[in-house]
């Protein structure tokens, strides 16, 4: 199905520190775009054919506003919104414009405010009065515990590991880590979801510059290529999920991404997975086939005990914070840095292939990207 596509690579990136601020969405975006212009050789505004914005904010004409603020007159500009996987879906759109030949260079920028309207999906009547995401995560947790014997301790290792990884991420929301014991003692929101099992909505922005294989050498000698893409939406309503102990859209999206990139779970050196809640990392590892079903808890405990950063080296959503429209782009930036060998203290040695998993609304939709150096 996929044939004669031009290769698309990542040229450079920019981030803002995740925080709670009074700054507007467009200002956050511009703050994360500035480093791209500061750090990319030979880049001028006239090189950029496409500007795409990723956010759940109710801002109108945002891609045009950001283009004006950045002095760009793009051929194509628009917003992409799909709740929590807006960021990677925005990258997929930019990839498509470039690979098809409609464009050579695309700027993708995502941002969110901590009070985003994307935090709750009011359309979903099936959620009744239980609209907040903690309720689906609690039902996922009940189901995974029932099927695989997962324990509260297993969930605490996810959060403690990711909070510790985030300490080495200068853009993280948190400026301290939380130990296994602190996660275990944190306040219960439901019987099986504690406060520290939840990612923190916050302000933040992330931007990434993509270019075609035909022009990329003008801007970098060291590109990272997007070689695999899978995106699958099964429904919008939570209650359509067939099986609450796994995320089927993630499984399907990853199969497409592995196939497109001619890779497999065993070739993944480093992965960013969408740990909106602790249970989500455990389920994602199983659905991405990085471990066998029911083995993720043991795998995560081992990562925690050995300080292995293979999964969520930047700290995941739990450790870094979750500005919805920026998250998928920030995950992609981490993977890009890992493959460039520029991730500093977070660096996974000899990483050649990276996977990004980004999902929305109880995994009714998932996006998986695979990057290769």
């Amino acid at each position: 199905m996929i044939c004669n596509l031009r290769k698309v690579g990542i040229v450079s990136s920019g981030l803002t520190k995740f925080a709670k601020t009074e700054v507007s969405v467009e200002s956050l975006m511009i703050s994360s775009i500035k480093p791209i212009f500061d750090n990319t050789k030979n880049l001028s505004q006239t090189d950029i054919d496409v500007v795409l914005t990723s956010t759940n904010a109710n801002e109108k004409y945002l891609a045009s506003i950001v283009s004006e603020l950045a002095g760009i007159s793009p051929k194509i500009s628009h917003s992409v919104e799909s709740l929590c996987n807006s960021g990677t879906n925005c990258i997929v759109s930019a990839f498509s414009y470039i690979s098809s030949g409609l464009a050579d260079v695309a700027l993708v920028t995502g941002a969110e405010k901590s009070n985003s309207p994307g935090l709750v999906l009011n359309w979903d009547k099936s959620r009744g009065q239980y609209r907040h995401p903690i309720y689906w995560s609690s039902l996922f947790t009940s189901s995974h515990m029932r099927k695989h014997g997962t324990k509260m301790e297993d969930l605490a290792y996810v959060s403690a590991k990711n909070h510790r990884n985030a300490l080495d991420n200068p853009y993280s929301y948190f400026d301290r880590s939380y130990s296994f014991e602190e996660v275990m003692r944190s306040k219960n929101l439901t019987d099986n979801v504690r406060l520290l099992d939840c990612s923190m909505p916050c302000d933040g922005a992330a931007s990434i510059l993509l270019a075609s294989e035909d022009v990329i050498q003008k801007f970098t000698e060291d590109p990272v290529w997007i070689t695999g893409i899978g995106q699958r939406t099964l429904s919008a309503g939570f209650a359509r999920s067939k099986n609450l102990s796994s995320m089927y859209s993630t499984s399907l999206a990853s199969q497409d991404a592995y196939r497109m990139s001619h890779s497999s779970p065993s070739t993944i050196d480093v992965a960013e997975v969408h740990d909106a809640f602790s249970i989500c990392e455990i389920m994602a590892l199983e659905d991405l086939k990085l471990v066998e079903p029911g083995k993720a808890a043991e795998f995560v405990k081992n990562l925690h005990d050995t300080n292995n950063k293979k999964i969520n080296p930047r700290g995941g959503l739990l450790g870094t914070g979750h500005p919805l429209g920026a998250t998928g782009i920030a995950q992609t930036i981490e993977s890009y840095q890992q493959l460039q060998g520029t991730a500093g203290k977070r660096q996974v040695e000899k990483a050649k292939t990276a996977l990004i998993h980004n999902m929305s609304a109880a995994a009714t939709s998932s996006t998986v990207l695979i990057l290769q150096s």
Partner: protein, 107 residues
């Protein structure tokens, strides 16, 4: 308020059903999502099956299924020895800006 919400407020749980192929369309919609024919509203059986549950501050919430296909999240009053697959009854529904579904267990 939509028809669905008005009915909920009167403790009636109705759902859209395709007038041509009889498929239940849930969450409610104007058109069938299989054949795009128009829908009619009909009463839904109050008998439900428990699919999953958890607790918040001592209150039980659950995912339940009605008529083998309508799934929704609601509260279980007086939960006692819950088992997945057990029978529930939709005791009450309401609407006050959000939908409310309240179940009871059946002995």
């Amino acid at each position: 308020m939509s028809r669905f919400e008005e009915e909920l407020k009167n403790n009636n749980f109705v759902c859209s059903e395709c007038s041509k192929c009889q498929k239940i369309v849930w969450p409610p919609s104007e058109y069938c999502n299989k054949c795009f024919s128009g829908v009619t509203w009909r009463q839904v059986s109050r008998n439900a099956i428990l699919l999953e549950y958890s607790y918040e501050n001592g209150e039980c919430f659950c995912l339940a299924e009605l008529e083998g296909q309508i799934r929704l999240v609601g509260k279980i009053l007086e939960p006692n020895k819950l088992e997945i697959g057990q029978k529930l009854v939709l005791e009450k529904c309401d609407y006050d800006g959000s939908e409310k579904f309240i179940f009871k267990t059946i002995e």
